[in-house]
């Protein structure tokens, strides 16, 4: 043991003398662990939220009985089933407005609530009586309480004027939900004696068959292992994971570079240790122990950084998930022990993987081999050929996946193969460029410039690969986001046809507003809409009622349409389908779709497909009058108005005064558009942050490579200094060399990034979100990104260059004195 400790002390002494290399190793490991763990923390937080949502008093994780048309049904069915031995518990669900904010109201019957309802928050015996007995309680999550700007114990009024029972915080509850006794819910939602669903507990004995008790009025829905929300958000989390993985690999590039160089520098030390009697097994074991110990320390620091990264990104991610999928993620980060253990594990595994080549070399190292401190550079040519061959093989895999892959994973596979292939072939490309430069160079210094750049390439290639990948991802994602942004703004212009939008709290108020508006001369047209919900082929679908008005025909954008599509919509047996739903259901123009409605099946011919960006639900657009005929309970609370621009402020002020409407309930087109664009920008804020992180890590990779190389480059620089080239000039030449290879790399990253953008737009986005965007290139943005990459390279190169410019002549003289 003491022997091992001494060997460890000797090995560690290397780092004491090479502090920058040590810092490089730690930074690489910390960056890799931090970014990976940060992303995992966010994913875990989101999944926990989905679990909570799924488990909320019988979400998708509980078997239940529902009406076939997804409407409410009479309470008497519950009584019948209980009498027949069915362990069911009633629930009523609806939406209410509290303080101008729309929230989900759940009415439960706590006495019959099955004890095995998922991870549902339990009500203790004491709480139970408070919950049931008047005035009752409204259970609410802390986040929702804050959103509603209410205090615990308060009894806020809903939009109808009725009061909620006093609010009580239940920590386990999902956000955006209020839970009350079912009797209270029936009163608040104005649905007396009505039930939305019956949750099924574990039966004791064998109850009578369902059909014999309720006929075909109810059907059983089995619990889902994966909820709709989880399915929808899978792609988003896969995106995040891909980003995390990329940053992790960029971090490992740094580790690999640092460990590789350290190994070469420590070769004489290892041989001396062996010559002094430390066995190969002992030395190799201690090398592994040293690496594991370092990765443990770095892993812990990385985890702490990962926590902060996750905490910083979480609000943006939550905004993205809310914007894209309507998922509610609490903003407070809470982590499980598995996250910490997995983080440490990934740090150790990553370090061992990055150091595998060096460790294998150490195991196989003959004790008498002559020292080859720069052998890894000399072997570059053979490696270039091997790497290029591997790159071609990886490109072939990308082509195969592109040709035959159907899934989202295959889409990511194409992206990964493209980037890996490009990274592998980069050194060969750069070698060709530098060799060409060398061939045409005439001046001796220029000749040396190109030749030395080539010689330096092997030491820098890993960092340059990291730069290539980071920049390509930046170009790809930025192009995709910019394309999306421009398409979205154009689409909004078309979709937001009306000049003023009103959202009434209920039907009665809607009717009153419409009657009042009809009397106003400044209102050119009143466009009443409506929304209903249904299940089509197992998918939740929103039915959007559109009024028949010329404005829609002129401005509502359709991606595909049958002849006279708008006219076909009027009778009520035709619909437009949103792009994502058409992909999900594999429905095209000319197909027919069956929608279960309260009065029976509603058969709709599909006469058009429209883009519906940002809507997590599939949507069918139908004539509003037809919608109300099929779904009589459709609230008619949404009203659009056509008003001359100069009359808008006056009309809004009058509406607010007459009907006590707040800013959420009445808004002009410009406000709605600005709010939509703000939500859109927030949605992609996390992408921008991850982009910046990835580029930052690549910059660190370049900096650390340059710093570790700086010292070993003295023998190349000293002869030039000896023949009269000043140190500042040498430093300037070194800087130019670094910037040149960074520029070549950046220029190669641009076409690669555009290819990445094309993959994202035409493969990944279509699979993930269900919509396909037109592909655009933004030259100014590309110039900007290349400039940022070069600036990062300049920053990375500056420190080693300043050190070189200020280097004492004695350090350079030592090269000739053979005393280094």
């Amino acid at each position: 043991m003491r022997r091992a400790l001494w060997v460890l002390a000797v090995l560690l002494s290397h780092w004491r003398r090479h502090k920058m290399q040590f810092a490089t190793l730690l930074i690489g490991l910390i960056a890799a662990t931090a970014l990976w763990s940060g992303v995992q923390a966010i994913n875990q937080q989101a999944r926990n939220a989905y679990d909570r949502a799924a488990a909320t008093f019988g979400g998708a994780r509980t078997p239940m009985l529902v009406a076939p048309d997804a409407a409410t049904f009479p309470q008497e069915l519950f009584v019948k089933l209980r009498r027949a031995g069915w362990p069911v518990s009633p629930m009523l669900e609806g939406r209410i407005q509290v303080n101008g904010r729309s929230v989900r109201l759940l009415g439960i019957e706590p006495v019959t609530l099955p004890v095995d309802v998922g991870n549902a928050p339990r009500l203790g015996a004491a709480d139970l009586s408070n919950f049931i007995a008047p005035p009752g309680q409204t259970l609410v999550a802390r986040e929702t309480l804050n959103d509603l700007q209410e205090q615990e114990g308060a009894a806020p009024a809903i939009s109808s004027g009725a009061k909620l029972p006093p609010l009580r915080v239940l920590p386990q509850l999902v956000p955006d939900v209020l839970v009350v006794d079912i009797g209270v819910a029936q009163r608040l939602l104005n649905k007396p004696e009505q039930i939305s669903r019956l949750l099924i507990g574990k039966p004791r004995g064998k109850p009578a068959p369902l059909a014999s008790v309720v006929g075909d009025r109810l059907q059983r829905v089995e619990p889902n292992a994966e909820t709709e929300l989880e399915r929808l958000t899978d792609s988003f989390h896969l995106n995040l994971t891909a980003f995390g993985l990329l940053s992790f690999f960029v971090g490992l590039f740094i580790v690999n570079s640092a460990v590789g160089l350290a190994f070469e520098q420590r070769l004489p030390m290892l041989r001396t240790l062996r010559a002094c009697g430390a066995s190969a097994r002992l030395v190799n074991t201690v090398l592994v122990v040293e690496l594991v110990a370092l990765s443990l320390v770095a892993g812990l620091i990385g985890l702490a950084c990962g926590y902060f990264i996750a905490a910083a990104l979480l609000p943006d991610v939550a905004a993205s998930l809310r914007g894209l999928y309507g998922a509610q993620i609490p903003g407070q980060l809470s982590l499980r022990p598995e996250w910490w253990l997995a983080g440490i594990g990934i740090s150790i595994a990553g370090a061992l993987a990055a150091a595998a080549t060096s460790l294998i070399k150490a195991v196989r190292m003959p004790v008498l081999a002559t020292a080859q401190p720069r052998a890894w550079q000399q072997r570059q040519r053979r490696w270039l050929i091997l790497q290029s061959g591997a790159a071609c093989a990886v490109f072939a895999v990308a082509l195969l996946l592109l040709q035959y892959g159907q899934s989202l994973i295959a889409g990511f596979g194409v992206l990964a193969a493209l980037m890996l292939g490009a990274a592998l072939i980069l050194p060969a490309f750069l070698d060709i460029i530098l060799r060409t430069g060398q061939r045409f160079a005439r001046q001796p210094l220029a000749l040396w410039f190109w030749a030395d750049s080539r010689q330096q390439l092997s030491g820098l290639s890993l960092a340059l690969m990291a730069l290539l990948l980071a920049l390509a991802v930046n170009v790809g994602v930025s192009t995709m986001v910019e394309t999306f942004s421009r398409t979205f703004v154009g689409w909004l212009d078309g979709r937001l046809a009306a000049d003023v939008y009103i959202s009434a709290s209920d039907n009665a108020k809607g009717v009153a507003i419409r009657n009042w508006l009809k009397e106003r001369s400044d209102v050119q047209a009143i466009l009443s809409g409506g929304r209903a919900e249904a299940q089509v082929q197992g998918q939740p679908v929103e039915l959007l009622g559109l009024p028949d008005h010329a404005l829609y025909r002129e401005r509502w954008p359709l991606l595909e349409a049958a002849p006279r599509a708008w006219t076909q919509l009027i009778p009520g047996n035709a619909a437009f389908i949103s792009e994502q739903l058409s992909r999900r259901l594999n429905v095209r123009v000319g197909d027919v779709i069956d929608v279960p409605a309260p009065g029976g099946t509603w058969e709709l011919d599909i006469v058009g497909i429209y883009a519906d960006y940002g809507n997590p639900k599939g949507q069918l657009a139908v004539n509003v009058a037809a919608l109300i005929r099929q779904f009589p309970q459709t609230p008619q609370t949404r009203i659009g108005l056509i008003v001359a621009k100069e009359n808008i402020p006056g009309l809004i002020a009058a509406l607010q005064k007459q009907f006590a409407l707040d800013d959420r309930s009445v808004a002009d087109q410009a406000t709605v558009k600005a709010e939509s664009i703000r939500i859109f920008n927030r949605t992609f804020a996390v992408t921008s942050a991850l982009n910046a992180f990835t580029l930052g890590v690549a910059g660190i990779a370049l900096l650390t490579s340059l710093l570790t190389l700086a010292n070993s480059r003295l023998p190349q620089l000293a002869p030039l200094w000896a023949i009269g080239i000043t140190r500042p000039r040498l430093a300037a030449i070194e800087l130019t060399k670094t910037l040149s290879v960074a520029l070549f790399t950046s220029l190669l990253a641009v076409p690669l990034g555009l290819l990445v953008a094309w993959c994202l737009i035409t493969i990944v986005n279509v699979k993930a979100f269900g919509w396909r965007l037109p592909f655009h290139v933004f030259p100014l943005q590309l110039v900007e990104l290349v400039a940022v990459a070069l600036f990062a390279s300049l920053l990375a190169a500056l420190l080693p260059m300043i050190r070189l410019a200020r280097m004492q002549p004695a350090s350079l003289v030592k090269v000739f004195a053979n005393e280094r």
Binding site: W6, V10, A275, G277, E819
Partner: protein, 217 residues
């Protein structure tokens, strides 16, 4: 103490076998100081490496005291070097990241044979007192070689093997270093086998053997 019988070693160079040692026989008594000379490529260093267990012989035997080196495993040979052999190289092979003081003791520490009094004496005899906190790169060649000799003798080995220890030093420094080594070898009573090109230095030891074409001449 050291007995070598019929020792052979062949290397392969560009696919052709090169017979470096062709049946070497050599004996060394306890405390005896022997110089091994021969032209370049005669197999001097190879013989030294085989004795130290840095490489394995093709045939023949090497016996150090009661141990047959040629029958030892890699770990066994490492143990032998650690406990009973001191090695000095032409290139010093000090550990650049350790101070002079740490370089001096680390083999003795690894072997578990650290002796504070002997360490102090070594420092004094080698004249390294003022250099203990320095690093190898801050020393001259002669100073580095003195540290290497100190490190090799810190374990009080049975046998000190030196491969051209003065090859990088000027004549005066070489003589000083060798004089110090002779002194310390006498003090510890270990055997000493030194490879050298210098007949002058070889003459200062008890015996001189010449290796020619892979055999003791």
């Amino acid at each position: 103490m050291l007995s070598i019988r019929n020792l052979s070693k062949t290397f392969s160079s560009a696919g052709e076998p090169v017979h470096v040692l062709r049946g070497v026989d050599l004996d060394l008594k306890a405390g005896e100081r022997v110089a091994l000379t021969g032209e370049s490529g005669s197999g001097k260093s190879t013989l030294l490496h085989l004795i130290a267990g840095l490489d394995a012989a093709d045939s023949g035997t090497i016996r150090l005291e009661d141990t047959e080196v040629t029958k030892l495993s890699d770990a066994g040979r490492a143990g032998l070097r650690r406990d009973r052999i001191g090695l000095v190289f032409q290139q010093y092979n000090l550990i650049p990241s350790l101070s002079v003081g740490d370089n001096l003791v680390f083999q003795a520490r690894i072997a578990g044979r650290y002796d504070a009094a002997w360490y102090k004496e070594l420092i004094e005899r080698l004249g390294l007192g003022g250099l203990l906190k320095r690093y190898p790169e801050q020393l001259s060649g002669g100073q580095q070689q003195r540290v290497a000799i100190g490190r090799a003798l810190a374990t009080k080995p049975s046998l000190l093997l030196a491969d051209e220890p003065t090859g990088n030093l000027d004549e005066a420094t070489a003589e000083d270093v060798l004089a110090l080594t002779r002194d310390l070898v006498t003090r510890t009573g270990c055997g000493f086998l030194m490879v050298t090109h210098s007949l002058h230095l070889a003459a200062t030891l008890d015996r001189h053997v010449n290796l020619h074409a892979g055999r003791i001449a």
